[in-house]
């Protein structure tokens, strides 16, 4: 087995980053210089067909230097932190900047300031190595073997040192951990899925998640085929996140200003059901809040959609200045919530439904029409017919063709926000939702 105590070279710490940044800043001749650090030690144990297929551990440190002369900007990066390499990366950034055209949107780096201090690194995740990941993978595989089911999934953990510094006094440094678990259980042709992500490896709840996926797989045995059409749907949090993520990605202010955004003309107007509110909650212990962003801006609590009304856009610093936005809102820790009365669990939504499709997750979600944010994607790993308050059958997977801007206005009932993690999104807190008239445009063969 894996020997204990074989530590990797020490991660870049706060003072080491300060030393590296000072070195770069002293050597740079630019008007402005920004140094950014991303040093990550990560590992993933991956399993399929109930055995380990991939078991990896990797360390990558990257230092990125941006230099500007009179609004001409160049960026260079390196994974080599030796003195010669640092001189080289400064030289490359300067050379690039001098040859670049002047950027009319150039702004000097944000001023130095204090940043919120958040518990972004958990010691139990820092301490986790290949042996712990293997132990967790074995736990999930073992549970599935007891049920005579095949499984595939991952256990991963990482520690990152992240920093940003500039010649004007800007300095921020943070250690961040990330732990993830997901698995797909296969019962013959049927599948069930569950996933978790947290700063702490101890919060992955391997057994609970595995049992959820086993339950879905076992329930998906005999498939009924339903015709495409408009259905009431119960979207589990992962499915809601699959739609909401596209909203988050298309809120940029520049596209809004140019009229090439689904939100053009909608700032200050209703975009969701009036009971829905979207916020950034960086202090929430179940979200991946950070102290500062990659641009050197603080991450603070902010409200983007309040009781259905769009309140904020995603600003780059230039557009924010043009709009007179002093504090640029960020969105590292999204939470979509709804006013009461909510129900506690998804099962309670099921009980409320006369006839609905229960969707565990969406897959391969893509834009169909960027003007109204019509999306398409497939249901995946547990799609069921609900009748008279009960799950009565598993159904073949549907393709949907729907806009979240429409769906989130067809809200019938909802739960409290719950953790949502999918392979295509980050981590969010969102409610499960009962939504009427959701458009399924076609059906697949399984």
């Amino acid at each position: 087995m894996i020997a204990p105590g074989k530590a990797w070279p020490k991660m870049t710490g706060r003072e080491e980053f300060r030393f590296l940044a000072d070195l770069v800043l002293r050597r740079s001749t630019g008007d402005d210089t920004i140094v950014a650090l991303q040093d990550q030690h990560s590992g993933t144990t991956r399993f399929a067909n109930s055995q380990v297929t991939q078991n990896v551990d990797s360390r990558r440190g990257t230092l990125t230097v941006t230099v500007a002369f009179d609004g001409r900007r160049g960026t260079a990066s390196t994974t080599d932190f030796t003195a010669g390499a640092l001189q080289n990366v400064v030289d490359r950034a300067e050379r690039t900047a001098k040859l670049s055209p002047k950027d009319p949107e150039y702004l000097p780096p944000p001023e130095g300031r204090s940043f919120p201090h958040r518990a972004t690194a958990r010691p139990e995740t820092v301490a986790a190595g290949p042996a712990r990941r293997l132990e967790y993978a074995n736990e999930a595989i073992g549970q599935c073997r007891i049920e005579n089911l095949q499984t595939a999934g991952i256990v991963s953990s990482s520690l990152s040192s992240v920093g940003i510094a500039a010649g004007n006094g800007l300095f921020a440094f943070e250690e961040r951990t990330d732990a993830r678990f997901s698995l797909t259980v296969q019962a013959g042709d049927a599948t069930g899925w569950s996933a978790a992500a947290h700063r702490s490896l101890d919060h992955l709840r391997i057994q609970e998640r595995t049992l959820v996926a086993i339950g879905k797989a076992k329930r998906s045995g005999e498939l009924r085929e339903l015709p495409p059409g408009r259905y009431s749907v119960i979207l589990e949090p992962a499915a809601v996140a699959g739609l909401l993520t596209w909203v988050l990605w298309t809120l940029d202010a520049k596209s809004h200003d140019k009229g090439t955004s689904p939100f053009a003309g909608k700032l200050g107007r209703a975009v969701f059901d009036k009971r829905l509110t979207l916020q950034n909650l960086p202090d929430h212990s179940d979200l991946f809040g950070v102290g500062f962003t990659s641009e050197g801006l603080p991450s603070e609590m902010s409200t983007w959609v309040e009781q259905g009304i769009l309140k904020q856009l995603a600003y780059d610093r230039f557009t924010a200045r043009n709009h007179g936005v002093k504090t640029i809102p960020t969105m590292e820790a999204p939470c979509l919530s709804a006013t009461r009365p909510s129900v506690p669990r998804i099962q309670d939504l099921v009980k409320q439904a006369d006839r609905a499709i229960l969707v565990t997750n969406f897959w391969y979600v893509r834009t169909v029409n960027p003007a109204d944010l019509t999306l398409t994607g497939m249901t995946r790993d547990g799609t069921f017919l609900v009748e008279d308050g009960q799950i009565v059958a598993a159904v073949k997977n549907f393709r949907f063709h729907e806009s979240p801007l429409r769906a989130f206005n067809q809200l019938e009932a909802w739960t409290e926000p719950a953790e949502a993690v999918t392979s295509e999104t980050g981590k969010l807190l969102v409610p499960a939702m009962l939504i009427r008239d959701f458009n399924f445009s076609s059906v697949t063969k399984f």
Partner: protein, 481 residues
């Protein structure tokens, strides 16, 4: 550090792996240089010059895999990482019920260098930035065009692969690409039209030959025409798809299902599995008899034509679909053994030194037929001609797909008439390919590459080129996007 120093470090790692009693081991030392220039709305928004150096060590110990990697390339770090890879492999082996076996591959000692006329890194940034600014200026001269984007990208990978079996492969590979787009607004709507060179393993001559400036007015005009075009009326249409468009259709509906690791369940938790299961090989009718889909990792300039893959297996050419019947997979040394094949197809690739190689789609292309594009269109009473890429999505077993495109023209009574907008077609993969009744000849063949093919956990980006001539598909279901 020179490549001879790399070889010494690699030998150091391999000696430790051998001494630990491993079945197999390999090391990849790599230094990648990536230059990206991005323009937006007439300005250069960013110029980035990234250098990414490190090494990854893969070990097979008693049938279990271990992999460790580091960006610290030093005499102290290499043996430490080698030992860790062995330890991790021991852990995997302790849980292995079915041991990994690698099929045989001859030992190779070779050097692979991308042939090119103009080194993309030797072309001045001023020249490249000026080109992009000029293209964006041209595009935005067209009234009703409100946004423009343009970019150039180049990458150089210097890589050393050495294995415990004695293979030693030295790579110096280039890849280049350029593109731009125009977004037009009209009557509260907006629509984009784009132009893109393929990503190819060649030099800056790809950009020069593409004549981006000459294309700019047409692209801008078509963006305006597209946004003003009538929306498609849903229904069944015959489709004529151009080569660039087909590259994505082939990638999603043929490429991914032909990856053997997916068919064997390795990707069940993320990218998905495949409807092309091993029992279907040699008998399953995937398409019409006109459909010949060939994997060719030997065609010069294409992305997967790297001489050897990351198993150290020589690149090859083979059939995936022959006369409509599914006959072959993309494999690596591990998965080939699982279906009784005696040699890997050489499709095992990692996206850098820090990631472990996995089965990747090869350069799968549609073999040309005998017609011209005009022949294909002239035999259509009511249809749509589609160019370029748009929306795309497919289920996790690769049956139910849906594609848009970049530009659409209505075909009426054998003639391409006017543009349409919001065209989306969908179907079931084998039904769609069985409806193919015409493929244009080699003169119309175009290559298009992808460098962002997502797969694996942690996610990696795969590179491959898909070539096709335009092809015709009958009575496909079209909806309004």
């Amino acid at each position: 550090m020179s490549t001879s120093d790399w070889a010494e470090l690699a030998e150091l790692a391999l000696n430790r792996i051998r001494a630990a009693g491993a079945d197999y081991g390999d090391i990849r030392v790599q230094n990648s240089t990536i230059q990206t220039i991005e323009g937006e709305d007439r300005r250069i928004a960013s110029i980035r010059d990234a250098e990414d150096k490190g090494f990854g060590i893969r070990v097979l110990y008693h049938g279990g895999w271990g992999f460790a990697a580091s960006s610290i390339l030093s005499l102290e770090e290499v043996p430490r990482v080698a030992d860790l890879a062995v330890d991790i492999a021991r852990g995997s082996a302790s849980l292995a019920r079915e041991k990994v076996i690698l099929v045989e591959e001859p030992v190779h000692r070779d050097r692979v260098v991308t042939a090119h006329r103009i080194d993309p890194f030797a072309v001045s940034l001023e020249q490249k930035s000026a080109l992009l600014c000029e293209v964006m200026d041209y595009v935005q001269r067209q009234s009703e065009v409100v946004r423009s984007r343009a970019s150039l990208w180049a990458r150089r990978d210097r890589k050393l692969f050495m294995s415990s079996e004695g293979s030693q492969l030295d790579f110096d590979l280039l890849a280049v690409q350029g593109e731009f787009s125009a977004t037009a607004k009209h009557d509260g709507r907006f629509a984009s039209r784009s132009f893109s060179t393929p990503h190819l393993r060649t030099g800056y001559e790809l950009i020069e030959d593409a004549q981006l400036l000459a294309e700019a007015p047409r692209v801008a005009a078509q963006a305006v025409e597209k946004v003003k075009a009538p929306a498609v009326q849903p229904g069944r249409y015959d489709l004529v798809l151009d080569g660039e468009h087909l590259s994505l259709t082939m990638h999603e509906s043929c490429g991914h299902p032909s990856e053997l690791d997916r068919a064997l369940g390795y990707e069940a938790n993320y990218a998905g599995t495949s409807f092309l299961t091993p029992d279907k090989r040699g008998t399953f009718r995937y398409g019409s008899p006109l459909v010949n889909l060939v994997a060719d990792n030997t065609e010069p300039e294409t992305l997967a034509a790297t001489g050897y893959d990351d198993d150290g297996v020589a690149c090859q050419k083979w059939d995936i679909v022959r006369e409509g019947v599914f006959v072959g997979y993309c494999t690596n040394r591990e998965t080939a053994a699982r279906i009784g094949e005696t040699r890997s197809r050489g499709s095992n690739r990692a996206d850098g030194w820090g990631t472990v190689p996995m089965v990747r789609i090869a350069n799968i292309g549609l073999e040309p037929g005998g017609e011209s594009l005009e022949d294909l269109i002239s035999d259509v009473k009511r249809g749509i001609y589609i160019e370029g890429h748009g929306s795309y999505s497919i289920d996790q077993r690769r049956y139910n797909f849906q594609f848009g495109g970049d530009a659409f023209w209505l075909i009426e009574d054998g003639k391409r008439t006017h543009m349409l907008r919001d065209v989306i077609y969908h179907g079931i993969t084998p039904d769609f390919w069985r409806s193919c009744d015409g493929v244009a000849d080699r003169a119309h063949r175009r290559r298009f590459g992808f460098i962002t093919c997502g797969k694996g956990q942690p996610g990696q980006s795969g590179w491959m080129t898909h070539a096709a001539s335009p092809a015709r598909f009958r009575r496909v279901d079209v909806i309004k996007g």
